[in-house]
């Protein structure tokens, strides 16, 4: 048997013979694939939209700050105030090589930043150069704090998006200019456009970040630090680290080992894990629903083709009588299944790409809902296989039609 133009014609002829039935059968596939792709695209878009909130934040981070002790210990009453110190930072670095970053933070809330008649409420944040590895800045202009800034107590600052927009309404590169925060002038060295919603000590959009050594001098806090942020090295489980770090700090500050209130520790890992699991669950559901619908469509195709084969017994019998081999018949029916599935499926891919694009337009292109090319190709191959599987049972039945059946059915 040759595969030429007429082979296609054979297939299209038999599909076009009952247009409405072919259409309705194909629609099952169409809808199934559309659902799958649209859900995948929508799910990815939603994930991207949510991920924006945590973007730039190291996922295996622990943040800790001192509170009041909750238990009396070694002569101390409960309810004692204590403070984390720069020495703790050094000690933690020394004790736990598993931590890649240990960085202290100081803060001053409710400050006002001023530049030539413009003023805006802000938070002062004293940070180390290392802090950029905890919360990645998105620098629109300039640079972040570096070690020299810290060592030389330079009065420089990195300002958040909102500060920049309020103090420099004309726009342009503000680096080199001076802004005044609480009567002290700082030279702007960078603009941080990060709009992530996970921040420590205030939204980074409203922050003026200065070297921690500068803020320490100004606030005169001595050795005390506000918070310490720690990032574990790759593969280190921060949940396991948490109690060890806690005990190390407690020992030094003479706090009861079983005191839960003295040290506030925020482990980001489980939070990210929850979100991650949530999306895994959502993805699982998407695939379950999508594949389920698609499968139902494919079974529909198989079902209808079963009926079609039954209907075409005489025709197939005639073909067999004039020399079609069982394979010829098998091939034709399987091809019909594949063609029907592919035509419906490709329309579904086109339609879902179109709809996802429309969704992006509605969302003002803030997130990408579009499925990628790989997903579309995977869907295409999945379809071909589904089409083939859908055709196999009916084709098997058709193959066993004997030429005499054509005459018997007269």
């Amino acid at each position: 048997m040759k595969f030429d133009l007429d082979s296609y014609k054979e297939i299209s002829d038999s599909l076009m013979r009952n247009k409405r039935r072919s259409f309705l059968t194909g629609f099952g596939i169409f809808w199934g694939l559309f659902m799958l792709l649209f859900l995948i695209g929508g799910g990815n878009g939603l994930k991207a939209l949510l991920s924006k909130n945590f973007s730039g934040f190291a996922t295996n981070t622990i943040i800790m700050g001192a509170g009041q002790t909750g238990k009396p210990y070694k002569g101390f009453e409960e309810g004692r105030y204590w403070q984390l110190e720069f020495k703790d930072v050094e000690r933690l670095k020394h004790l736990f090589p598993e931590l890649s970053i240990v960085t202290p933070q100081l803060s001053q809330w409710g400050t006002v930043a001023v530049n030539e008649g413009y003023s805006v409420n802000s938070n002062m944040l004293g940070a180390d150069a290392d802090y950029q590895y905890v919360e990645t800045p998105v620098l629109k202009y300039g640079r972040y704090l570096n070690n020299v800034d810290i060592q030389q107590h330079r009065k420089v600052c990195v300002i958040g998006k909102q500060i920049y927009q309020s103090l420099f309404p004309e726009g342009g590169d503000p680096c080199g200019q001076f802004i005044c925060v609480n009567s002290v002038y700082y030279q702007v060295i960078g603009v941080n456009y990060s709009s992530s919603n996970i921040n420590i000590n205030g939204r980074s959009e409203e922050s003026v970040t200065v070297p921690i050594t500068v803020l320490r001098d100004i606030l005169n806090t001595g050795d005390a630090v506000g918070m310490i942020c720690m990032v574990g090295r790759d593969g280190v489980k921060m949940s396991d680290m948490e109690p060890r770090i806690r005990q190390a700090v407690y020992r030094k500050h003479t706090i009861a080992p079983d005191d839960d209130e003295a040290l506030f520790m925020l482990n980001m890992e489980p939070i990210f894990k929850i979100i991650d699991n949530l999306f895994k669950g959502v993805n699982f559901l998407i695939w379950l629903v999508g594949i389920g619908t698609l499968l139902a469509g494919a079974i529909g195709v198989s079902n209808i083709m079963m009926v079609v084969v039954k209907e075409r017994t005489i025709e197939i019998g005639i073909r067999r009588a004039i020399g079609a081999t069982p394979f010829d018949i098998l091939f034709q029916i399987v091809m019909e299944g594949i063609v029907l599935t592919l035509v419906a499926g490709l329309s579904a891919i086109v339609f879902s790409v179109f709809m996802l694009n429309a969704l992006e337009v509605i969302a003002h292109h803030e997130t990408a809902f579009q499925i990628n090319f790989g997903t579309a190709m995977a869907a295409f191959f999945l379809l071909t296989i589904l089409g083939m599987l859908a055709g196999i049972a009916p084709a098997y039945r058709a193959m066993h039609i004997k030429p005499v059946d054509a005459m018997r059915d007269e």
């Binding site: 048997m1 133009l5 025709e315 073909r319 020399g323 081999t325 005459m407």
Partner: protein, 240 residues
């Protein structure tokens, strides 16, 4: 001998065994025009199915042109049918959603003949049967006689050794029946096509040169009918 059957037995086993053919011995030579006559239930359809390699037989031997046709796989059977046998059916068995020329082309399609070649050949055959103008018409737009001529063209396009006609006039009126039988006669005379007609109409059988009577699964008498006077109803018409 083109066709040789020796001691063919066939039993259908649908719950109760039904012994249909009880030892058929038959030989038909190249270029013969033979009819097989018998009442319904005589086994003539079964015999036709076996002759046409549409069905298997249980005992005996069947040779076409010296080739033993026995226990063939479906693929081999399809191949032999395609190469050696042309079928003409009572109800034409054209494919309704294909035009006349596509119907005629179909056996060549399964032979793997190229598109253009089979199209030209099919057109050639349709012209010979005076159907050139009907080439692109669908079967339901044609008369019974035209349909049967399309079917004959389809049967002959592969140049088979044997043309098997199963009640070829069964669905036709007497006038077109005569035309179809004349066409078959002409094909036999002019192109030496070996034709086997299965019928229960004596008028149809009378058109052939040899009439083989089958009764209760065995061959009865064989009448040589070169004079075409076998029919009690006369030689000129086909009684309906």
């Amino acid at each position: 001998m083109l066709i040789e059957l020796q001691g063919i037995h066939k039993t259908y086993d649908n719950g109760q065994p039904l012994h249909v053919l009880k030892g058929i011995d038959l030989s038909i030579d190249k270029g013969e025009f033979v009819s097989i006559m018998g009442a319904s239930g005589s086994g003539k359809s079964t015999l036709l199915n076996i002759l046409g390699i549409l069905d298997n037989y249980d005992e005996g031997e069947y040779h076409i042109d010296g080739k033993l046709i026995k226990n063939l796989s479906e693929k081999e059977a399809a191949h032999y049918r395609n190469q050696m046998i042309g079928f003409v059916f009572q109800s034409f068995n054209l494919i309704n959603f294909k035009t006349a020329i596509e119907n005629v082309e179909l056996p060549l399609f399964y032979q793997g003949v190229s598109r253009k070649e089979r199209h030209d050949l099919a057109m050639n055959y349709l012209e010979r049967f005076g159907l050139a103008d009907w080439a692109s018409h669908y079967p339901n737009e044609m008369s019974g006689g035209q349909k049967q001529r399309v079917a004959i063209a389809r049967a002959l396009i592969t140049q088979p050794r044997i043309l098997l006609a199963d009640e070829p006039t069964g669905a036709l009126d007497s006038k077109t029946s005569v035309e179809v039988m004349e066409l078959l006669t002409r094909l036999n005379r002019e192109e030496k096509v070996t034709i086997i007609v299965v019928t229960h109409e004596s008028g149809v059988a009378n058109c052939t040169d040899k009439i083989i009577h089958i009764k209760d699964g065995i061959i009865g008498e064989t009448t040589i009918n070169t004079e075409h006077h076998a029919s009690v109803f006369g030689s000129e018409t086909i009684m309906k």
